[in-house]
Amino acid sequence: MFLLACPHCGPRSVDEFKYQGEVTRRPPERPTLRELTDYVYFRDNVAGVQREWWYHGTGCGLWFVAERDTRTNEVLRTEIPEPSRGRTPAPVEAAVPDTPAV
């Protein structure tokens, strides 16, 4: 267990939040099947600092990005991401049991 600082509500127990997967890069406009499946299924799954999406499910409902060291679960920072120019990085479906991936 660890604390996560919601940019809106402040530090709360991780159980209040839903993990929504590592931050990924959108595929090109007209992706090949390979580019699309790379985006949908394949993950960096780093042992180290990871940028990831969280959703404050039982709190304010905010989607935000955290930087967390997956080796220690130390949260280095949390932020509301700037909308990127042209295209908004859409959150990824997490491969967790209560959200069937297929």
Partner: protein, 404 residues
């Protein structure tokens, strides 16, 4: 007679690493050791080294909840695990080592009409493949497991269950030790505390591994490292569709034999069995976030104890003896990733999530065949890594999402 009390080494102490092996297996757990064992036994490939970064069986093989079953949802999965159960049934005799496999039956409870439909589907898939598996209703559950609380005051009333008579529990450490001894006797070298730090490739082909004890050349490299798969396969330049999560379990203090069947509830995210030592062994669900930090959480203990008491209120005075966690490599479709990768002669056993232990002998036989003959056995063809590139998934969510 006095020999039965004599302590003897089960396998040779590690020697010097050779400069070259026919096959290098990364990971000294049940999958890696089974692959090495069957390579030597079935194919006569004996120039094999098993490299393990810690002690033998220190990862998921020593941390699982020891359940063996084959009542899966997809025909591919059910056929595969069914062969594994059959191999497990003979493994004690094969290894000349008592693995204490007891097939006392396995009940997956259904608490809703939708769950009953899923159980019916699973029963039908299983029966078509000749697997002993059927839907039972509360009267029969009461006969199979009189200890369970069937009401009237339940949070989630039990409507029925999938009953799988060949399901059972096994002594998990014994599986690892038996396979290690069998492999060692056949000539395989076992190298604990040998961490792989790099994998060399020459023109798209794995040729050598770099370890903390020096460089080793190999014709074939096999990765069987569960939670660390992304990292080890990354060394070979193979990207995986895997996320690493922790799974937790705990045991209570030992009591007299009380429960023989295994009880699983997907609704309550809990599975309960009593070990041969008398401890109640209770496991739950993975933590939803990815992490490599193997440390337990208090909410896990709280909710799994609460849910266990819903099923077995008699256990209310039992104390928790110990808890532990292990790393799980979750794949997007809850099926394993097994066999070839895009790097030639670099094979993988990964994506086992929370259900890898029950597959050890079948992974060993099929991977050994792949390594020895270069042909992918039909049984594991549906589980190739390639399926994620071509989007042909084998969804086992219905039968594997509860981690046992």
């Amino acid at each position: 007679m006095k020999d039965i009390f004599r302590v003897s080494r089960m396998w040779r102490p590690r020697g010097e690493l050779k400069k070259r092996y026919d096959v290098v297996v990364i990971g000294g757990g049940s999958h890696g050791l089974a692959t090495a064992y069957y390579l030597a036994k079935n194919h006569g490939v004996k120039d094999v080294a098993v490299l393990e970064k810690s002690y033998i069986g220190s990862g998921a093989s020593g941390r699982n909840t020891t359940i063996i079953r084959s009542n899966y949802r997809t025909p591919e999965g059910a056929a595969f695990y069914s062969r594994s159960v059959k191999l497990y049934e003979q493994l004690s005799a094969d290894l000349d080592f008592n693995l204490m496999f007891s097939q006392h039956g396995h009940l997956t409870l259904a608490h809703s009409e939708r769950a009953m439909v899923t159980m019916q589907e699973r029963a039908e898939v299983n029966q078509l493949l000749g697997i002993d598996s059927r839907v039972v209703y509360p009267e029969e559950i009461a006969r199979l497991c009189p200890q369970i609380n069937l009401g009237p005051r339940q949070t989630w009333p039990i409507q029925g269950a999938l009953y799988h008579a060949p399901g059972g529990i096994i002594r998990h450490d014994a599986v690892v030790w038996g396979l290690a001894r069998g492999a060692d006797r056949a000539g395989v070298e076992i190298h604990p505390y040998t961490e792989v730090t790099g994998i060399e490739r020459t023109s798209g082909r794995a040729t050598a591994v770099e370890t903390n004890r020096g460089r080793v050349e190999a014709d074939v490299v096999v990765s069987a490292v569960a939670g660390w798969s992304t990292l080890v396969c990354g060394l070979a330049g193979v990207r995986l569709p895997i996320t690493t999560h922790i799974l937790q379990a705990f045991v209570t203090e030992p009591v007299k034999p009380f429960l023989d069947v295994i009880i699983v509830s997907a609704q309550m995210h809990v599975y309960v069995s009593q070990t041969d030592r008398g401890e109640f062994l209770i496991g739950a669900e993975i933590e939803p976030y990815t992490t490599y930090k193997s440390i337990g959480t208090f909410p896990f203990l709280e909710y799994s104890a609460r849910h266990t008491l819903e099923l077995f209120p008699q256990l209310e005075r039992l104390r928790v003896l110990r808890t532990w966690t292990g790393l799980c490599d979750l794949s997007p479709d809850y099926s394993p990733i097994l066999g070839r990768t895009e790097v030639e002669n670099f094979h993988v056993s990964a994506g086992w999530g929370t259900y890898g232990f029950k597959a050890a002998p079948i992974v060993g036989t099929t991977l050994a065949k792949l390594v020895a003959t270069g042909e992918t056995p039909d049984l594991i063809a549906p589980f190739a890594l390639e399926r994620f590139h071509t989007d042909e998934l084998v969804s086992e969510l219905a039968a594997a999402a509860v981690s046992h």
